[in-house]
Symmetry: C2
């Protein structure tokens, strides 16, 4: 999506180690218009897939999911992050490694809110190593829910998450894919 | 707001200790229509107050803030929760006690995204002891920003947060105020 690529080029900040900071409009301060456009684009891409639930993980995926849900007119369920691996019996859970924070966490969703009749669109702001999406897929599979696809705002194409998901046949739609970050900090799509 | 009170009566679950679970529509699974109505109502209440930024705290406030922002057409900034009290120099921060989780945390907002020209509406899903809102007020005050008001979906009127904020002259609009939960688990507004 050209609009999002332009926002990244204009407002993104490149930091050492392949880090692209977009917290002026995507995941700390949030530009309402960017969210609206992203929500509409996810709807355009997945409107014919019978999606009846949007699933994401806290925290920064929630806003995008809730705005997109206004177009799809379906509920959102967000996975909560828990530090402990002791999980109540009425929860689906997946253990996930966060490369960003360098730690492991457990994501959980109540069994009440996900089941075999659900046709799910997973939404998140970023895709890098794909750990969060893999965790959500595992939870969907525990619930017997169907994964219609994955909608991502920004994919880091130079990390392996996107490749792994596509190889497994997941329909992954990333609205901006950063192919590389040059030595000079230049972003290419 | 009658619509929200009806949702609480129909779908809320009362647990021992004055806990009202509304995670089927408000803060785990999210009913897109409830969020839309809440967002519109906040807009109706605060549309003439010159609000140019919505501030909330992760995680469950983010969705409501982002949907409301679509009516106000203003940016959202959400405070992040940090376990450490070592805070970078470029952050505003406030130390907050969570009665729900029985621990302390630090909420932080980048100094880049809040300043003296900001006229802020604070939005959150729940108000009980008011600690989160107090923390956000402290951050607004550090930034020199103006607080226009506080919009809350559900206030627990039998806890002290609402009283404390109103006594300090804060314009607090809670869309549903739970006055009491009877011995039999009956909720009254």
């Amino acid at each position: 999506m050209k609009f999002l690529e332009d926002m990244i080029l204009t407002h993104g900040e490149v930091r050492p180690g392949g880090i692209v900071k977009v917290d002026s409009f995507l995941n700390h301060q949030i530009d309402w218009k960017v969210y609206r456009e992203i929500g509409k684009e996810f709807y355009r891409l997945f409107q014919n897939d019978g999606v009846n639930k949007i699933v994401t993980v806290e925290a920064s995926g929630i806003g995008l999911a809730c705005v997109a849900a206004q177009s799809f007119e379906v509920p959102v369920v967000f996975a909560k992050k828990s530090k402990t691996s002791n999980i109540d019996a009425d929860l689906y859970s997946a253990r996930v490694h966060s490369f960003t924070h360098g730690n492991d966490y457990t994501m959980v969703i109540s069994q009440k809110y996900l089941g075999p009749t659900d046709r799910v669109l997973i939404i998140d702001d970023f895709l890098a190593n794909g750990q969060a999406v893999m965790g959500l897929r595992s939870i969907l599979s525990q619930a017997g829910a169907t994964l219609c696809g994955v909608g991502i705002a920004i994919e880091k194409g130079f990390q392996e998450g996107g490749r792994l998901l596509r190889e497994e046949g997941v329909r992954l739609e990333s609205l901006a894919i950063i192919k590389a970050i040059g030595e000079d900090g230049r972003i290419s799509f």
